[in-house]
């Protein structure tokens, strides 16, 4: 199932906002067993690693790293955020 992140704002920064978004996502998500959860950045202007880390950590903790996928995007802030998030192996769900 796909989550359209623009539903959570055009500019996605800060941990408190990411935490709140993750809680809202988890309340809405009803994935089938082994169904992939796709994060769609279409329409998002900018993403910071703090926001994305909160969302990915929460979703990966519940569904596992392999089932949470960031869809390809040309938005450079997404790629740069993922670089620092995935460089830290100590995070929950990693």
């Amino acid at each position: 199932m796909r989550i359209r992140l623009e539903q959570y704002g055009a500019i996605l920064t800060s941990r408190p906002a990411g935490r709140e978004a993750a809680l809202a996502m988890k309340a809405l998500l009803r994935p089938a067993a082994d169904e992939t959860i796709e994060l769609d950045f279409t329409g998002v202007v900018s993403v910071g690693p703090s926001w994305l880390d909160e969302v990915l950590s929460a979703l990966r903790a519940d569904y596992g790293r392999g089932r949470v996928v960031c869809l390809p995007t040309k938005n450079a802030s997404v790629a740069e955020s993922l670089k620092v998030i995935d460089a830290d192996p100590g995070r929950p769900g990693f």
Binding site: I11, T13, V45, G48, S50, S57, S77, G90
Partner: protein
């Protein structure tokens, strides 16, 4: 002779960090018409820029940020008398609401592909002000957030009157020796003053972003600590060198070359 006069004008503007035409008339003892002619030529050449209108017009060196107000705000030993609402974001909501304005610098030449990075970098630095100083403000809560486009460059300044980076990080790592070491740790290690929470990647992201392109740089001062990153980092460092070394608080200056 004319070139010499223009050199003098530039020198005066540089020394005074901006000046009005009338002040140049008095100092150089030449006619207002001649001064305006020189100023116009210097502006066309891209060496100076005018701000304001009519008799309040002031001329500044193009490409240099105007940081006097934030420097005074940060340096004030007591609660600052001036807390301009257009710059001081007392809550995270106000800061977040102002971030989208950075996209408007596309009109000044901010590349469409760069805008997400500029916004995200500013967002990380600004949100850090709130994350690490909640309950520890010296007096004024929040952060100073200002953006200036001048001479084909975008300058972002984010400052706070919080506890300072050393005081925040030394709780997580008591081995940190001083403010300089704390600054290096903030930008280069996954370490957070909010430990045991899993945090501490925001400033690494900002460092990576400014290191990822030729026309980018940043400097950060917190107390006696001063660090810079990116090709244009030394220019940012030079601007922050004159900021106060007093403990507490932090100021980050990001520079981005426009198209």
């Amino acid at each position: 002779m004319k070139t010499e006069t223009r050199s003098k004008i530039i020198e005066i503007i540089r020394k005074k960090n901006g000046t009005r035409p009338i002040e140049l008339v008095k100092q150089l003892e030449i006619t207002p018409q001649a001064i305006h002619r020189h100023l116009k030529l210097l502006a066309v050449a891209g060496l100076i820029e005018s701000h304001g209108r009519g008799p309040l017009t002031r001329y500044f060196i193009a490409g240099k940020p105007q940081l006097d107000r934030v420097r005074r705000w940060l340096a004030s030993a007591a609660k600052p008398a001036e807390n301009p609402e257009e710059f001081v974001c007392r809550t995270r909501d106000v800061f977040t609401a102002r971030l989208p304005r950075l996209a408007l610098f596309a009109q000044a030449g901010l590349n469409e592909d760069d805008a997400p990075l500029v916004i995200a970098a500013a967002g990380e630095v600004g949100n850090n002000c709130f994350d690490h100083n909640l309950g520890s403000w010296q007096d004024v809560p929040g952060c100073w957030f200002e953006a200036q486009a001048t001479g084909g460059r975008l300058w972002l300044c984010i400052a706070d009157r919080g506890q300072g980076i050393f005081n925040s990080l030394v709780r997580a790592d008591p081995a940190l020796a001083d403010e300089q070491a704390a600054l290096a740790a903030a930008f280069e290690r996954t370490l957070s003053g909010r430990a045991p929470e899993n945090r501490g990647n925001g400033l690494k992201f900002v460092r990576n972003v400014v290191n990822g392109g030729e026309g980018r740089g940043l400097a950060c001062r917190s107390g006696a600590g001063l660090a810079d990153y990116g090709r244009l980092g030394p220019e940012c460092r030079a601007e922050l060198a004159g900021f106060p070394e007093k403990p507490g608080g932090a100021v980050t200056l990001i520079l981005w070359r426009l198209a």
